[in-house]
Amino acid sequence: MDEESRTTLRLNELGFVFQAYNLIPVLNVEENIGFVMRLRGFSDKEIKQRVLEVATLLEIDNKLKSLPNALSGGQQQRVAVARAVAAKPKIILADEPTANLDSNNSKILMNMMRELNEKEGVSILFA
């Protein structure tokens, strides 16, 4: 499989949550969450609706206009999770998503991911 095909596969089938959040620093929370959806060609209306839906679920809907550097570690990781979930991938690969979080935030995030799994029906593979 060549690089282009791998990129297309990642875009359409997979979602990623990284240990170090890896948000795009110049985009606000709303744009970060909708980033993958934009790459996949969703309409503005669809993106706005879905971003709000996922952000509400992850309790970051009041931070939509903030830049990543204005958020706490826990909030940034929730944005990363929202970005991975928003475009409804078949599977999410989560690479130690709680490694940079304190125990309290880790617990909250894991609960939220479990809830996503139940409500959105998305499979999450933790490493």
Binding site: T7, R10, N12, L14, F18, Q19, I24, V26, L39
Partner: protein
């Protein structure tokens, strides 16, 4: 999608604001200087061309076939006044003058020098090339054996306004004749040959002195930049020697070519500066954001969109630099067009080359369009190497390494 890319490009262009601003200032300053230099170079040549056309050859000149090889009184244009009237009725001809010329010796009581006497009609010369604007000393008047002398010739003979001079030459019958003249004015045309050797007198007086027919002339000079006029004259007066300005002044053609080379070299240097400036900023900016690109690629952004984003970032810097440079350059050129650069300290050297001491710039749209093209090209080429670096990225490796 493209809205997002444009947004990313715009925001990233100003991520390191002071660095970007510095490059924009660098482009603006170097570009405006280049525009000013271009304007001055062209202004120098155009001024020289304008003075030469006004004082001597016009846009087109007509001579008898043999005259330019052998400047003998025998080679005059017959019935030049009728030809002049015909040309004046041709489309594109703005002004036409007749001139009679003879070479000889101009003397004072102590000195003498080679000189070329030019018989002119002052009123017509005024219409043709605003002759009075060449005045340096005295008043433009050719009545009662009045003469106007070129500035360098006046210096050579040490004559001033009011001096008496004697011009000697061979008339149409082959006799050596002399005419006493009074210097009424000294002119500076910045046409080297005229300034060095010309003495202007009334055309009718010269005809009388030389014994030539007043219907004849050595030169018919024509003002008119209509490109078709030259062709029409060539056909209409095939038995005469019809020459365009640049055919008569090959040195000025060379000068124009030389200025094009100067301007091209200046453009290349400035473009080099722009290239290095944008390259530096983009390269460092990309190195700073390797991880960001890794993230984008890992979540599914195709390389082509990253390429577009990088090109846009570079073009944003280039365009902002260009706009600032164009604005600064336009202000500078406008100032130089109105007030010029005063190089009076070098006036003697400049006059030797046919330039005036105050040099005025010209403004051409082509300065701005060429520069825009060159800056765009520099902006695009400057990101090719940084892009190759991103192409080689392994997103997962980058994200892992930068944790």
């Amino acid at each position: 999608m493209y809205k997002l890319i444009l947004k990313l490009a715009w925001k990233n262009s100003f991520l390191r604001r002071s660095r970007t601003l510095l490059v924009i200032i660098m482009i603006a300053v170097s570009m405006s200087m280049m525009l000013a230099i271009e304007g001055i170079y062209d202004g120098m040549v155009e001024n020289m061309v304008d003075k030469n056309k006004r004082s001597d050859s016009g846009d087109i000149s007509i001579f008898a076939k043999e005259y330019r090889i052998n400047k003998d009184l025998a080679y005059m244009i017959k019935n030049a006044d009728e030809i002049k009237a015909q040309i004046e009725n041709m489309q594109g001809a703005q002004a036409v003058v007749l001139r009679v010329k003879a070479e000889g010796l101009l003397s004072t009581a102590r000195k003498s020098s080679f000189a070329s006497v030019v018989g002119i009609d002052l009123q017509e010369e005024e219409r043709f090339g605003k002759f009075s604007e060449f005045l340096k000393e005295g008043s433009i008047d050719l009545q009662k054996q009045g003469a106007i002398v070129g500035i360098e010739l006046a210096k050579t003979l040490k004559v001033g306004v009011g001096s008496k001079v004697v011009f000697s030459t061979q008339d149409i019958r082959g006799e050596i004749n002399s005419i006493a003249l009074y210097v009424r004015a000294i002119v500076q045309t910045t046409n080297i040959s005229l300034d060095n050797s010309a003495i202007f007198i009334d055309i009718n007086q010269l005809h009388k002195f030389l014994g030539t027919d007043s219907k004849n002339a050595m030169q018919i000079a024509i003002r008119g930049e209509d490109k078709e006029l030259y062709g029409k004259l060539k056909i209409a007066f095939a038995n005469l020697d019809v020459k365009s300005f640049l055919e008569l002044q090959p040195m000025i053609k060379q000068m124009q070519d030389l200025m094009i080379i100067f301007n091209s070299v200046t453009l290349l240097i400035v473009m080099g500066v722009v290239f290095i400036g944008i390259f530096g900023v983009m390269y460092v900016s990309i190195l700073d954001r390797v991880r960001e690109f890794g993230i984008m690629i890992s979540v599914g952004m195709h390389y082509k969109y990253i390429t577009i984003q990088i090109f846009l970032e570079s073009i944003v810097i280039g365009v902002l630099g260009y706009l600032s440079g164009a604005l600064l350059g336009a202000v500078l050129l406008t100032y130089l067009e109105h007030y010029g650069i005063d190089l009076s300290a070098f006036s003697d050297a400049l006059a030797t080359w046919g330039y005036e001491a105050v040099i005025y710039a010209t403004i051409k749209t082509s300065y701005f369009t060429t520069t825009l093209g060159a800056i765009m090209a520099a902006s695009i080429f400057s990101v090719i190497i940084p892009l190759r670096k991103i192409k080689k990225l392994n997103p997962i490796e980058v994200i892992k390494a930068e944790k």
